[in-house]
């Protein structure tokens, strides 16, 4: 099994070069915001391990929100983010990208304030790869190659299968074995391929085990302390919840329009949001703790197709920037934006409140889990207002959703299963 990883290369943009940078990025697209996989700058389609990638300008139009805390607004830069989700180590993927497109990447990053044309591009990019506070991968181990191969398998079998009812277990087996022969022939003729999974890297397994042990240890140590101080912590929490200002005006129509113009060209969409973290030690510690716990859950628990009840997020990440004063969130999800947000509200509002209520202006929560995102229009205004247009977005498998991928993977498993029962054979045929 090949684990996935993510890179998050972020560098400040030179104010005077921003318009040119926007123009340059737009040349990579075939539709608004949607990358041409073979574009002349970074031909994403050539990188076999890359699931998703994007270039996004992190230019916060709501920077003065922080003034509600009486904090003078520092003059923070805009950033260019180049992020990707890939199979295997992220830096190997970056190295591949650099090998193929160094000159063009340099042309893009030359718009950044601290870009040094004399320096080795890869090491510059690695130096700008920000640590991720929490990262979510829908299905750890599912590679681009597997997704594409299984997609082709599903199409071939769905077109081939005899759709009449089967009369007996033996008939079902017969139909399956014909399909198995069909697939063998297709593989022999190089029309299909089913590459066996690579062995799981030992280092990754050990690191995961170590992380699990440390996580459990830290929890065991922290829990009694948290319990001991819980009355004080809860009182402090309620004080913050009632006093933190709420900033949820309706987002302006021009921004909304710009965002919507980039959406719904595929069955999946992208989301990029940026904002301030609430100042002060309590909110800072709370946010750090929550995101650390989330990261732990994403690494050890939510690795098989769902985060809470939400089954539509491919990859997501929460990243601190500017000395933990600001935070951005990026995700790739299935369906339209409206459905994504309704899913969030109805299925995991508590999770949103946990992870985002430390953002400046979040709708008031109660006891950290309740209200907040359940206050529908305030939440919807808040999240759209903080969303930034993603200038360039790439997805390696257009037209495929996570539900598709899960079904396709089950089709392959059923095909390769050694001694299925009659019920399993019938269930497999129904998947087609």
């Amino acid at each position: 099994m090949t684990p996935q990883s993510q890179f998050t290369v972020v560098a400040p943009v030179r104010k005077d070069r921003e318009p040119q940078l926007r123009q340059l990025l737009a040349t990579m697209n075939s539709l608004p915001g949607l990358a041409d996989p073979h574009n002349a700058l970074v031909p994403f389609g050539e990188f076999a391990t890359l699931h998703f990638a994007r270039f996004a300008l992190l230019d916060d139009p709501n920077q003065d929100d922080i003034e509600v805390y009486g904090v003078p607004q520092p003059n923070l830069p805009s950033y260019l983010a180049f992020i990707g989700d890939c199979d295997g180590p992220a830096h190997e993927c970056l190295a591949q990208v650099v090998r193929r497109a160094a000159a063009r990447l340099s042309e893009i990053f030359a718009h950044c304030a601290d870009f040094d044309a004399g320096r080795d591009l890869l090491s510059w990019m690695v130096a700008h790869d920000l640590p991720i506070a929490a990262s979510y991968v829908n299905w750890v181990g599912r590679t681009v190659l597997q997704i594409k191969e299984e997609g082709a398998l599903q199409r071939a079998l769905a077109a081939k299968v005899d759709r009449s009812a089967v009369t007996s277990g033996a008939a079902a087996r017969q139909r399956r074995s014909e399909l198995i022969d069909f697939v063998k022939n297709e593989i022999a003729a190089h029309r299909l391929s089913l590459t066996p999974p690579a062995p799981t890297p030992l280092r990754w397994q050990l690191a995961k085990l170590w992380n699990l042990a440390m996580g459990v240890l830290i929890t065991l140590i922290a829990l009694p302390v948290l319990l001991l101080f819980s009355p004080l912590l809860l009182v402090t929490l309620r004080r913050h919840e009632t006093q933190d200002p709420e900033i949820c005006p309706r987002p302006n129509a021009a921004l909304l329009n710009e965002l919507q113009n980039l959406e719904d060209f595929d069955v999946s969409n992208q989301y990029t949001a940026f904002g301030w973290a609430k100042p002060g030690p309590f909110r800072g510690a709370l946010m750090t703790g929550v995101l650390a716990a989330l990261q732990f859950i994403c690494r050890h628990v939510s690795t098989r197709g769902f985060l809470g009840r939400v089954q539509s997020i491919h990859f997501a990440r929460w990243v601190f920037i500017d000395g933990r004063r600001r935070l951005f969130f990026m995700s790739n999800y299935d369906g339209g934006h409206q459905a994504y947000m309704d899913d969030f509200i109805n299925k995991v509002a508590f999770g949103l409140n946990l992870t985002f209520s430390s953002g400046v202006g979040w709708p008031h929560t109660e006891w950290l889990l309740a209200k907040g995102a359940r206050r529908e229009h305030l939440f919807k205004y808040f999240q759209r207002r903080h969303q930034l247009p993603t200038q360039v977005w790439y997805k390696a498998y257009p037209g495929l959703t996570l539900i598709d991928m899960e079904r396709n993977a089950r089709i392959r498993q059923g095909l390769e299963q050694e001694h299925p029962s009659d019920a399993e054979v019938l269930a497999w045929l129904k998947l087609l």
Partner: protein
Amino acid sequence: MAETPVTAPLQPQKSAGGASGVDSADIQGLVRFGYKHYTEAVFLLLRVREARAARAWLAGASVTSAVEMKPLPDYALQVAVTSDGLRALGVSADIIDGFSQEFLDGMAGDPSRARRLGDEGPSDPKYWIWGGGDRVPHCAVLLYALPGGLEARRLAVEAQCAAGFDLLQRLGTTDMGGKEPFGFTDGISQPLLDWDLAQPASDRTQLEYANLSCLGEFLLGYPNEYGLYTPRPLLDPSRDAQGVLPRAAESPERADLGRNGSYLVFRQLRQDVSGFWRALDRYAGGNAGERDRLAAAMVGRTRTGQPIVDPSSVNLNDFTYGADPEGIRCPLGAHIRRANPRNADLPAGAPGILSRLIRTLGFDASARSRDLMSSTRYHRLLRRGREYGTAVSIDQALAGAATPAEVGLHFMCLNANLQRQFEFVQNAWIMSNRFNGLHDESDPLLGNRMPGPGATPSDGFSMPQSDGPAGRLTAVPQFVTVTGGAYFFLPGIRALRFLASA
């Protein structure tokens, strides 16, 4: 689409502004009644020519309220305005800005909306008879009358309107006896509105599907399913010196322009009745029984309205799909299953708090497989459409005609939140070719059959069976084309008078 003009069940009448807080005299009747007895109807789409004269007509128009009247008056008249209409009437911009963004943008306002609603290909707004480009109506006058009474009333209203408005389009309707043009009984599934405001205005999890909707889902100014008030124009009282408008329930110091009003979605859907039945006949190999079975599978009901998921059900609107998670009795993608999946906030499971916690956190695989749709109660529509054109029998449809009959549905629905209700249902449920885990198919009746990204088809239709792979129709033709549409605001009657004087 489809189902229409039947009256919603009559709810007990409440005195105007009585204890229930619902002032029926201020609500346009269409919210409460389907006007079934008014078998004749015409919809006049108007554009403002003289704002002053237009306002004068609106100020005096005898708009029918939701107060139940006996005997039934000869006719009912309803008035709705688009955002362009509000501008043309001279309503000030800051007031207009308080309406929802979807209403302000308009149905044909931008390509991204057309993409979300599936208004592409032949349904592209650039081909619309009305509603696109410079043919966006300002005002809709909906006129309903008892048999034989419409013509005279229409002439009178058109004469009254002539001073202030140009007639953009006169949309006639046909009484097809409760059937939509394909021949299916229509208008069965309707939410029941909580006119008594009996449901508490609070945010709580509902573990069972219920047909009772909070009034705030359909009328602005009342609590919705979240126990919240949907945003709407709330004005400084100085803007309403005469006190024409009601005051806002949640902030009594503000004048509420939205209260007792609703957003009216109006789409003209042309139906290719011949194309529909001939395609089904082809799939059925000319076998009439099989043709009917396929048609019922696509709709989710037989032609007489019996839900195929529960053919024995007596009440045609009282069932769920809970016992048919695989779609073996009623295909997952059947039209009525898409338009109203009848699910609850949380997939069903074993009783007990532990099971509920496990399902809430997503750890129950069986529950997860039934959890691919949003909870229905946030996405209900109150449908008020009417058929138009020449009714075609199945035999006529199968015989075909040199010129296909111009026939279809004036789809209308009411909702308080265009984004969460109409646009969501249209986008995520009807047009989506990934609804409920399906692939390569969108709504069997309404789908535009445009291929999706990655060249994936959307013109299939799958019918799961218990003992084999799902039956699958491919290359299903397009049966329905959108030929017009707009978002209107159907104001409360006091709000209408206010807008006419603003």
